[in-house]
């Protein structure tokens, strides 16, 4: 096996100083994400999002596309941050070189938190623990997701790839943790924290009910396939979305249409 570092040489920016080895977090189709020290904040990390050149694209077109995508993602982050939507702040960027650095969000993706909460029970145990008290923490997380998505849509941004992997759970300060005892509080810890939305690579500005409904539909489908055993709790996300966002009712009406189209499409094969 070759070293990943040999297969994917890091961008030049990460080779300027020999002092640190960047950590490759993900290698996607479009880009890579590294964890690396913040350039100017001591003892802090940042996430460096890098879109390497695509050898199969014409170089001039490729450079233009990369630059536009980095700039667009940075612009959306700025807009969301200003409006109070919980997103990482942008620290620096060189769109022509294909990278931007954003604030490192501590914690795990929401996907991991929910799966930890659900535990390792067999797949066919379709019903989440029927103990009402036990479910409170998870339902609470669902509500926070709905609030975050509502805030996002209120600013006139649709995400384009809403999944529980594209949301982080930033831990609360220790005293913010719900107290309790035994495994119940351990489980609750897994779903504690502020929901921070990340990965605006496919985001765009839109105020249309249709676009917003598609955003919710993508989340609904992703949620059902990632967390089938919590699917019956998904409506809590929509409920809190409705409460958080004034224009939610017409979006949720549209969501019915979008679901219908989705079903038809899957029936046609």
């Amino acid at each position: 096996m070759t070293e990943p570092a040999t297969e994917f040489p890091p961008p030049k920016i990460l080779t300027l100083s020999p002092a640190h080895k960047p950590i490759l977090i993900t290698q996607g189709a479009e880009g890579r994400l590294y964890k690396t020290p913040s350039p100017f904040q001591p003892n802090k990390f940042c996430a460096l999002k890098y879109r390497p050149p695509k050898p199969y694209r014409h170089p001039i077109l490729d450079a233009r596309l990369t630059k536009a995508r980095i700039s667009s993602e940075a612009k959306v982050l700025d807009r969301c941050y200003r409006e109070g939507v919980p997103v990482p702040a942008v620290l620096a960027k060189d769109a022509a070189a294909g990278w931007m650095m954003i604030e490192w969000i501590e914690g795990e993706p929401v996907r991991v938190g929910i799966n930890t909460w659900l535990g390792e029970r067999p797949e066919d145990d379709a019903v989440v623990d029927s103990n009402q008290e036990d479910e409170t923490a998870l339902i609470d997380l669902m509500k926070r997701i709905g609030v975050a998505v509502g805030a996002l849509h209120r600013t006139g941004v649709v995400h384009g790839d809403l999944t529980t992997s594209n949301m982080m759970l930033r831990p609360w300060a220790e005293d913010g943790l719900p107290n309790g005892n035994g495994s119940n509080s351990e489980k609750a810890k897994a779903v504690a924290g502020d929901v921070v939305v990340i990965d605006f690579g496919l985001a765009m500005q839109s105020q249309s009910d249709e676009d917003r409904a598609v955003d919710l539909y993508v989340l609904e489908r992703a949620f059902a396939s990632t967390h089938p055993r919590a699917e019956r709790l998904f409506h809590h996300i929509l409920d809190s979305y409705r409460e958080a966002f004034k224009k939610a009712p017409s979006v949720l009406n549209k969501l019915e249409d979008v679901r219908m189209r989705g079903r038809k499409r899957s029936m046609l094969g």
Binding site: S17, P39, K75, E83, L91, A92
Partner: protein
Amino acid sequence: MSKRPAATETCDPATTSKRPKPPSSVTMALERIQLEHIPPNYRVYGALFRDVSNASFLQTQLLSRNPEFEYAFIDASTIVSRAHLLAAVWNAVYTSIEGNLRTPNVHSEVVASLNTNNNIADGYRRWGITPDKTKDLAVIKILTSSETLPDAEQEKEAEKVWTHLTAQIQGRPAELTNQELAQVTDWQKVRKYYKLNGVPVLDQTKDEVEKRKKMESLAIMGMALRGL
């Protein structure tokens, strides 16, 4: 400088403020600033001068391109925090490495980097040293050599810079800490320059410490998105 142990050469403001008072503050106030993702043959020094009385003379040296005055002189009242200033310094060094300077040199680039648009003259006017107006001055000196400088050489270099600065600047030397900077920030200016008035996230934030952190982030973001 020579007596300072290497471990205190950090840009952590907490550590900086805990540093024991030096016998002569004049020899100790120039700090070697550590930045990440720049080559080791780049050295960044910084200091703060309070109650400066000869801003007019200093600006004249810059305008006449006096080669002895290759510094970034920044009006400290426009600075939110240490990280805000260092973001501009880092950007200037990076831009210089990439060969993409938009201004005559890396020092003027520091000042221009504080701007949220590409108007360079506007950047100098707002963030640079201004006769009669600048009272508190942040100074940045960036030096490079083809090789990484041995410690002894680097200390000599820093002492030389410091001797020159203290001879030329009429003001009280201070350190570039968040604490010192907070005493001189002109929030009205900062809010105007970084378009922070009426920004929802600031209105939503009640805690003053949190609010400052957000203003810092917004200023840095404004710089990162310059021209977009």
